[in-house]
């Protein structure tokens, strides 16, 4: 009966297992690096809120989409704020990050309310605030050697 070993694949499996082990071994990160990774996700969600607001203003997405996207973003940002609160990262990185994320959650909520009330000028203002928060987060990432897109 044939099996995976009779096909001469044992060395390949060993190599692949070693690579997998190496991959897991390399996965340890410092608290600051972990926080900067989280910042990347937060930045992505702030950008999503911003684009959603812009597209709603241009009549390209429905109000229900703004509401569900804001709900998803707020839940993700809340999780990230909680992670940041527990993080052992230096306060000069952790505290501004928490402030930006918490503010983004509030701006998201106001954006959703503005969309619900069809208040376009207010929605545009919230989009502007999100842009500012995105820039602040990018600056924070850059100062601390993280990646910002």
């Amino acid at each position: 009966m044939w099996n995976i070993y009779s096909l001469g694949l044992r060395p390949l499996i060993r190599t692949a297992l070693a690579a997998a082990g190496l991959c897991l071994a390399c996965s340890s990160q410092s608290p600051k690096e972990k926080l900067l990774d989280t910042a990347q996700t937060a930045s992505s969600w702030i950008a999503t809120l911003r684009m959603t607001g812009e597209q709603w203003g241009a009549n390209s997405v429905p109000t229900s989409f703004v509401e569900t996207t804001v709900k998803a973003a707020r839940s993700e940002l809340e999780q990230e704020a909680d992670e940041a609160a527990k993080s052992q990262a230096p306060p000069e990185v952790r505290d501004p990050f928490r402030r930006i994320v918490t503010e983004a959650r509030d701006v998201g909520k106001r954006l959703s309310q503005a969309a619900e009330e069809n208040d376009r000028p207010e929605a545009a203002r919230e989009v502007g605030r999100l842009a500012a928060l995105q820039e602040q987060l990018a600056a924070l990432q850059k100062q601390n050697g993280g990646e910002s897109q």
Binding site: W2, A20, L24, C26, S27, T52, T69
Partner: protein, 405 residues
């Protein structure tokens, strides 16, 4: 004329099988995070899947047997039972992901929660399979699936730099976030080389009563069909790279991916995305449910065939009925469709050896295939799939932990 019509089978497999929720999710992530740098896994996967699909069609045309049936008959029930059980689990997860994709498309349009749609979507998918013939599924899905060309049109409108597209076709090392880069590369391959597509295709060829005269048509179907699917996936990566990446949106959630067409098609882009997602996932869900029923029926030697009256193949119908209901429960109980999709794509990559190795043995069986046995090119490609699939199998789970978001 009849043979020209069989090209529709290839289109169906492309739209429903090639471009499904897995492709959409991985393409949006690839473009959103790494721009055009991850086009190469798609190109590699497309070349490999063209060969595999061609082989599975050739096998069915020459032997008049579908793959699971042939593996059980020629390699023995005991040898096939393990892979069959693992593949059944994969079918279940993929079906859950596809149903989740349809539910999410409906959530986008209506704003109602994703789990709300789980049972209505399961009922719709089941009804579609219960009431229609194989050719009706083939034709309706392939025609409606043309809406996914919106990704290609959007990519064209954005005029991406050709030099960067060509550069993305060549494997390169990541500039940042290596674990995520390799995780997405593995997931892209897992999304392209899906095991169920091979089983569905070979069973479909038997349903369509292919014989040796269809070998040439089969080649055309494989290349055109898979090429069509690949083009749509390239389009999805390009629009994500052009629309999402410059804004810093990583597409970790379908809400983020849903924005990709809004700049190319103001107003209609959102609707097109929801429709493309819903239709591609519905096509894939019917394929996966059928593939599961085909595989199970062929494993146990039951009657099978989508064109038979349900009274003639009751157990075949029972399998897809149960599979659809069970998979929809994943979504009903709140499993996140995107997370389920990403897990499924990694698992897809992990189970490829169970598909590729028995397949390679059968394709070289001269008693079965006579002069239509694999040549050296097909064998080399299948061996590459075997080697690649073993590497993927071992690295996909750690990468899921390290690189999956």
């Amino acid at each position: 004329m009849k043979k020209a019509a069989t090209l529709a089978l290839g289109i169906l497999t492309s739209v429903g099988g090639f471009f499904d929720v897995g492709n959409l999710a991985t393409a949006a992530q690839a473009g959103g995070v790494f721009r055009l740098q991850l086009l190469w896994p798609l190109l590699l996967g497309t070349i490999l899947v063209i060969f595999l699909i061609e082989m599975s069609g050739r096998f069915a045309a020459v032997t008049r047997q579908a793959l699971p049936d042939a593996i059980r008959t020629h390699l023995g029930f005991a040898a096939w039972l393990g892979p069959f059980l693992i593949l059944s689990l994969v079918h279940f997860l993929v079906l859950g992901a596809e149903i989740g994709g349809i539910c999410f498309a409906l959530h986008l349009v209506t704003g109602l929660p994703v789990p709300f749609w789980a049972l209505p979507v399961a009922a719709l998918t089941w009804l579609f399979l219960w009431r229609t013939s194989f050719s009706a599924i083939e034709n309706s899905t392939s025609l409606l699936g043309l809406i996914t060309l919106a990704f290609v049109v959007a990519a064209w409108q954005h005029r991406p730099p050709t030099s960067q597209i060509l550069a993305g076709m060549l494997p390169t090392l990541p500039h940042h976030d290596p674990a995520r880069y390799w995780f997405i590369a593995v997931s892209l391959l897992g999304a392209v080389i899906t095991p169920y597509m091979l089983y569905f295709y070979s069973s479909g060829a038997v349903e369509d009563k292919w014989d040796e005269s269809y070998i040439g048509v089969n080649r055309g179907v494989s290349v055109i069909g898979m090429g069509f699917g690949s083009l749509i996936s390239v389009g999805a990566i390009v629009v994500a790279a052009v629309v999402l990446a410059p804004r810093g949106i990583q597409a970790d959630d379908y809400h983020q991916a849903a924005l990709v067409l809004t700049t190319a098609f103001p107003f209609w882009g959102f609707v097109l995305f929801a429709a493309a997602m819903g239709i591609a996932c519905l096509g894939a869900a019917t394929e996966v449910a059928l593939s599961m029923a085909y595989t199970t029926a062929q494993t146990y030697g039951w009657n099978w065939g989508e064109d038979l009256d349900p009274r003639e193949d009751a157990r075949f119908c029972l399998v897809y009925t149960g599979a659809i209901l069970a998979s929809s429960l994943l979504i009903l109980f709140g499993v996140d469709p995107l997370k389920l999709t990403l897990l499924t794509m990694a698992v897809n990559a992990a189970v490829l050896p169970f598909v590729a190795i028995p397949f390679l043995l059968l394709m070289n069986d001269r008693k079965l295939l006579k002069e239509h046995c694999n040549g050296w090119i097909s064998n080399a490609v299948t061996l590459l799939v075997v080697v690649l699939s073993i590497v993927l199998a071992v690295v996909s789970i750690p990468l899921l932990i390290r690189g999956g978001s």
